[in-house]
């Protein structure tokens, strides 16, 4: 069995995105994100590892809306990493920007230094009204209060797929790993895959002329590619 070093990436086709937020809901369910109340939401205590940013063009009633799902961009040169004093956030060999909840002491520095504002903090110990605790995903940690968290590219699904492939003694196929957001997108706007494999769908989309990166000018080298609207 040859060991291939993966480098995970994602492409999001903004031409296909309808802003339906199915990815947001799927992410909540998959990754054990706590549910919020209106009062807590008003205090800014909500967390969504993926959010839909809306950009409006024009004056009412002639308004065009652009939707943009924003998740952790898994930057190659992530600004959040060097500032963490305890190495709670670092790069893993597969190019993921990992957040280790065990190690996090909650200095908030990573979140301040994230230009995409995609890091979320557990302001309180998370709580779910009954019977929601029964639907917790056992493959994902229940984060304690006081730690930072963010999109993991559904690392538990990556692990599961790699494990399945290893058990069957075959290489991982392109498109086999599907994060919850990708799986749930009705418009199939999101594609996930291995950027090290030049034949993978995501690699081909990343090379597409429409592909751009968010706040690319900051030099963070994100691994999420946005395919802009063909106008």
């Amino acid at each position: 069995m040859t060991h291939t070093q993966h480098r995970w990436g994602m492409a999001i086709d903004l031409d296909r995105c309808t802003g339906c937020a199915a990815c947001v809901v799927a992410c909540h369910a998959e990754n054990n994100l706590p549910v919020s109340t209106p009062e807590l939401a008003a205090e800014g205590r909500t967390a969504h590892w993926i959010r839909i940013d809306r950009y409006y063009q024009g004056e009412f009633p002639d308004v065009k809306v652009k939707y943009m799902p924003v998740l952790c961009q898994q930057c190659d040169e992530a600004p959040c990493e060097p500032v963490c004093p305890v190495y709670a956030t670092y790069h893993n060999p597969e190019g993921l920007n990992v957040q280790v909840y065990n190690r996090c002491v909650g200095t908030f520095y990573c979140a301040n230094n994230c230009p995409y504002t995609v890091r979320y903090f557990n302001w309180f110990a998370p709580q779910w009204p009954e019977p929601l605790p029964l639907q917790h995903n056992p493959d994902v940690a229940i984060r304690p209060g006081g730690v930072m968290e963010k999109c993991t590219f559904c690392i538990q699904r990556i692990k599961r797929s790699k494990e399945d492939a290893a058990q069957e003694g075959r290489p991982l196929a392109d498109g086999e790993v599907r994060p919850a957001c990708v799986q749930s997108c009705p418009a199939e706007a999101m594609v996930f895959g291995d950027l090290n494999d030049p034949e993978s769908k995501v690699s081909r989309l990343a090379g597409n002329g429409r592909a751009t990166k968010l706040l690319e000018e900051l030099g963070t080298k994100p691994k999420v590619f946005y395919l802009h609207k063909a106008t």
Binding site: C75, D76, E77, A78, E81, P82, Y87, Y90, H91, N92, P93, G95, N97, K221
Partner: protein, 168 residues
């Protein structure tokens, strides 16, 4: 034995020390006691000090150790940094600087305790004069045959009151 002479003026102390040293008493046997620091003229009672050297050495030592420690820890458990260096001198230079300064502080303070004699084993039997505010006391340690000469020197310099303490 010890001779203790009380003085009121800085100049008379200086004169007494000059006379005593001319009479063959080593500077190590002389101590001036006062309630505030006194500046004697150059060449009267110089105490060579290595404090600056110790301070600089402490600084270099701490700085070097800190840098070595950082290099070792960052390389001991190598984490992938996604293109950024594992060990970067510039990114840890502040720590090197602070530790350098800490070395200087520790060196200075440690050497102060040593050189002032506060921590060193001192002659516990040596008498410590009680100094009146504004006055100065000169303590002379001398052996049998020097006593007469020293007494004479102190009187000539203008010491008010000379006491003898300790055995001959």
């Amino acid at each position: 034995m010890y001779l203790i002479a009380e003085f009121r003026e800085k100049d008379t102390v200086a004169a007494a020390i000059r006379l005593l040293r001319a009479g063959g008493i080593a500077p190590a046997d002389l101590d001036v006691f006062s309630e505030e620091p006194i500046d004697l003229p150059r060449g009267v009672l110089e105490r060579p000090s290595r404090m600056s050297l110790v301070s600089v050495s402490g600084a270099i030592l701490f700085g070097a150790l800190a840098t070595a420690f950082i290099w070792w820890t960052q390389n001991d458990y190598r984490l992938v940094t996604g293109g950024m260096p594992v060990f970067s001198f510039w990114a840890t230079g502040v720590i090197t600087f602070e530790m350098t300064m800490l070395g200087a502080i520790v060196g200075t303070f440690g050497w102060f305790l040593w050189e002032s004699g506060l921590l060193r084993k001192r002659d516990r039997n040596a008498p410590v004069p009680t100094v009146d505010p504004g006055a100065m006391c000169l303590r002379v340690r001398c052996r049998g045959n020097d006593i007469a000469g020293a007494l004479d020197a102190l009187r000539r310099a203008g010491a008010g009151d000379v006491q003898r303490e300790g055995e001959v």
